[in-house]
Amino acid sequence: MAEYKPIRKVVSGNYAAAYAVKHARVQVVAAYPITPQTSIIEKVAEFIANGEVENLQYVPVESEHSAMAACIGASAAGARAFTATSAQGLALMHEMLHWASGARLPIVMVDVNRAMAPPWSVWDDQTDSLAQRDTGWMQFYAENNQEVYDGVLMAFKIAETVNLPAMIVESAFILSHTYDVVEMIPQELVDEFLPPRKPLYDLADFSRPFSVGALGTPADYYEFRYKIAKAMEDAKKVIKDVGKEFGERFGRDYSDMIEKGYVDDADFVFMGMGSLMGTVKEAVELLRKEGYKVGYAKVRWFRPFPKEELREIAESVKGIAVLDRNFSFGQEGILFNEAKGALYNTSARPIMKNYIVGLGGRDFTVPDVKKVAENMKAIIEKGELDVEVDWYHLKR
């Protein structure tokens, strides 16, 4: 194995994604432009125009629905396929997301988290991707540009192992258009980590005629669903193994599906996903200095859901403040809902409160985290919740 010397580039989150597509030797990119995703595809197109990639077919389709359909066709015909989208575009793709997982195709997509309209918004909000939670796609939430790059590379390896598609999720503008240093991996080392795809089936193999996606009668459909459920469960080990391998090769370890900090002796932890957690991690450092016994639990993989890891955290803390940059109307924040559900059948039942923050790109800052900490501290001391779901920024 060649020695790893990272190539440092200052890139936006979107360019980090585009470089990962290049380094992953993706064969087909089908995409439709939508803000703030567009610069991913523009960069990929630029790679092609400059002759920096070989054998990459770019299909500029007429809609996101067709983008996913074309990726599905490409993946079924044996190619490594990629697309990217945001918000309304992801919602338009929804039908085909089921088709990708049902046909067991390891497509990788970057979703740039953007709020759903109306009112129109191009800013950050996780509701678009979380609304796809039951489509059979794995979901990885990136905290920073580095994790976007690493996430795409790992996602191909994981997806092609378990034959399920994967979505790498990054924040609109906070990551997509913000420049930061990203350590990139030399091509030959990416090639060692991510060998060419070996498809589960190949439409270009004519040795024995076959069909994919035919009518599944009640006698068989159920088992098809079970196999997806099983693959999603098996993915947990694959995710950890690939995350560990990535760490061993390139120094950034992703073997935990939940990244933890200061959990062991914490009274309570902040839990959340994506770029929000960069702010939280910064705040926790400061709060620790001020004597707050706090920690953080950053959920990297939302699907499959890291139930077991969450249960371990719950064993040792008195409270969990769940920060949701999303909302499921008629219920509560989606991560909060999932986390509570995961803890029901355990003896560990820390106090859990849901803070709805940052919807539609509203800033959630270090002082905001401190306010949440003060509130959470008071709740734990008192031993009871004030409210279960707190619309934190609401102009009252």
Partner: protein, 311 residues
């Protein structure tokens, strides 16, 4: 099945079968026949994609397939897009597409999946110029879901959601001319075909195989079930549709129109001959038939003019 050499020589249509018995089409199904001809023309080195339509069922439920070729079932509105994806993948992998020895990438979709919900993806497919063939088999309604109108349903036709009642029938719109929309994209090759003229159909399929870029064939495929017609009348109906100029046979190649009528000098038969064999038109009055007849002749004159000017 081995075909004796002397039999092979007598047939201009390939004798080899790549569409197996045991498929689940209704008796007299034009679409099943069409699919059989496509497979005869292209053989087993073909990748089909079929959206929601009768052929989803005809090809067979899991784990069966009636096709001696590979088939990817897809969602209703995605035929054009999936074709593009398959073609792009093959090219990225260095696999030859189209031509005599290349892999044939074929979309096989009904009129609903083409003229209605799939029109956008079809447009994208044509405009981007993928090396694949899109075949729309036109049975003039959503037959798989129980005979509902599509935009390819003709004026006056009974369907379950445009019924003919005591006072009215609901289908007041003329058949959408999908082929004209296709030609507006200026594709390298577009054609109409009919299951009643298999030699013409196979010739067009072979042409589509040779010409680089996207090809489109609109195949007229009677549906006895949906048309309320006897199951042994499918070919007769398909032939009458051509003879009445209701569904004229023609090609569009590199900007040029060419009419391929079996008897070019004959005047079209009255449309009534096509209508009277089908229960779906029984609500039509003399006046209604006149409305349809004049539309047919107007379109026919238009086509003849196009062939004259751009022939």
């Amino acid at each position: 099945m081995e075909i004796p050499e002397n039999v092979k020589k007598r047939l201009s249509i390939p004798a080899e079968e790549h569409f197996y018995s045991g498929h689940t089409a209704c008796q007299g199904c034009g679409a099943a026949l069409g699919l059989r001809y496509v497979l005869k023309a292209y053989g087993r080195k073909t990748i089909f994609t079929i959206p929601a339509c009768c052929s989803t069922i005809i090809a067979g439920p899991w784990p069966y397939t009636a096709l001696d070729a590979n088939l990817f079932h897809t969602a209703f509105e995605t035929t054009g897009a999936v074709l593009g994806g398959i073609e792009a993948a093959l090219k990225a992998r260095g696999i030859k597409v189209k031509g005599e020895d290349g892999v044939m990438v074929v979309g096989w979709a009904g009129d609903g999946g083409t003229a209605d919900i799939g029109l956008q993806a079809l447009s994208g497919f044509l405009e981007r110029g993928h090396d694949a063939v899109y075949i729309m088999y036109d049975n003039e309604a959503y037959m798989n879901t129980g005979i509902q109108r599509s935009s390819s349903t003709p004026y006056g036709a009974w369907t379950t959601n445009t019924p003919g009642g005591k006072k009215h029938f609901l289908e007041k719109r003329q058949k959408k001319k999908v082929i004209d929309i296709v030609i507006a994209h200026n594709p390298p090759y577009a054609a109409t075909a009919s299951v009643a003229y298999p030699e013409d159909f196979i010739r067009k399929l072979k042409k589509a195989q040779k010409i680089p870029g996207p090809s489109f064939i609109q195949l007229f495929a009677p549906c006895p079930t949906g048309w309320r017609a006897p199951t042994d009348k499918s070919i007769e109906l398909a032939r009458l549709a051509v003879q009445t100029a209701y569904f004229p046979l023609f090609e569009y190649e590199n900007g040029k129109y060419k009419i391929n009528m079996p008897n070019p000098k004959k005047e079209p038969k009255p449309i009534e001959e096509f209508l009277k064999l089908q229960g779906r038109f029984k609500y039509m009055t003399r006046e209604d038939i006149e409305i349809l007849q004049s539309w047919v002749l107007r379109e026919w004159e238009k086509l003849k003019k196009l062939a004259e000017v751009f022939g």
